[in-house]
Symmetry: C2
Subunit: 219 residues, 2 copies
DNA sequence: ATGAAAGTTATTGTATACAAAACGCGCTCG
DNA sequence: CGAGCGCGTTTTGTATACAATAACTTTCAT
């Protein structure tokens, strides 16, 4: 994307994720333009993307509001992600080249290094984790699938959730990745799907635990 | 959406679907603005939507081209649709109200009427078919799922494929719908999923037959 | 002839001014 | 007292002019 438009997107997104605004708060394009330091034109571009990600929503009369994600929303997104990414794993198992499998191994080595530190480097872990999943999605060779997943994968990051992953959680992830690699090496689509399924389902529960158990949501 | 922007979207989409342009042909925003009779601003809006639907694609340097869908693309979309819509059927089975089930029955009655004519009214069939699936997707109560499906469901319509559905195809669809309704009435999610799966899979083969068997695609 | 560099044209991106639509508020009239 | 109606204000939508970038063409050196 072009400079101003990309700038607007990044700035606004950061602004939303930072928690500087509260759910259901109204925003105007002018405000956002000021925040991003560009004119309304690229802001409107950015807003459309953020609407697509459901970080912003529009009232029936086109006014902009900060989205309010309920626990149901989060569960929905995890469910969809699981469904799609299991499919991706299945396809990837039938398509991954040797080189790509080697890439996965390298990435997962990096991921383990990020964990096994005096203090685990969570940012690096997340980055490697993302790279790992990206290789798989890429290998699945399904542009629409990739497009859909891109939206869903970003989501958890969005919630300013304490990243209180335990060391065990991180290590289990790494082991899941190892098993995925094994499944890929064996070109066993069923195996890959199953491992991906449990990998993501566990991630959901870890996440749900962190974000708080199913509370009664908003009055 | 606002008037000009919606106008642009509809006009350009019709233009693309009509076959007046060929795949990989370059388009400029100016051309499209002229065609739609509005300025470039709303055209850019429309173009983004069409990009999202993958009817238009951009080169690495932002130039616009008519998308070229391969058979693989079509298979991909059917596979994704099947996955998502089976999920929708499952959720719908747990959520549909009596009133909604009654709606499904009404819609399917309309659908049958459209078939059982001297000459089957395909347009009306398609409309009813769409309404039927929309009720289910709506009942699934998953906005992101709905959003994803919206893109995929439009797709087959896009291809200027001869709608040479046979009478048998149409009748089988109606029967599938009846069975779906039965599954919903019984609140049997597994049943609903299974019926939806075969319903869509058959549709794929009907479609594939119509569009021509797996040929060697472009050189 | 060939390929690189500079200049020219075509195309997309951004800012700004204005138009249209929605909102809020006070007012009137029942 | 309250529901509906104008009217000024706010907010979004559109057109247009201009800036930036990419594609194309010509020229010139080798």
């Amino acid at each position: 994307m072009s400079r101003a438009s990309e700038q607007a997107y990044a700035t606004i997104r950061a602004h939303l994720v930072s928690g500087a605004v509260s759910p259901n708060e109204q925003l105007t394009e002018d405000q956002l333009a000021q925040i991003a330091g560009v004119s309304r034109t690229p802001v409107r571009d950015a807003v459309r993307r953020l609407e697509d990600e459901l970080l912003l929503v529009r009232s029936d009369t086109k006014r902009l509001f900060v989205a309010d994600w309920s626990r149901d929303d989060i569960e929905e997104m995890f469910a969809l992600r699981q469904m799609l990414e299991c499919h991706a794993a299945e396809r990837a198992a039938q398509r991954l080249s040797r080189a790509q499998i080697a890439d996965l191994e390298t990435v997962n080595r990096t991921l383990k290094e990020a964990i096994e530190q005096p203090a685990p480097d969570v940012a690096r872990f997340l980055e490697a984790n993302r790279a790992f999943h990206d290789v798989i999605i890429d290998a699945a060779d399904s542009p629409r699938l990739a497009q859909m997943l891109a939206k869903l994968v970003e989501a958890p990051v969005v919630l300013r959730t304490a990243r209180n992953y335990s060391l065990d959680d991180l290590r289990q992830s790494a082991r899941d990745h190892d098993e995925l690699i094994a499944a890929f090496a064996a070109s066993d689509a069923d195996w890959a799907r199953a491992v991906m399924g449990s990998h993501l389902r566990r991630a959901f529960h870890t996440f749900a635990r962190a974000v708080g158990p199913a509370e009664a949501q908003k009055p």
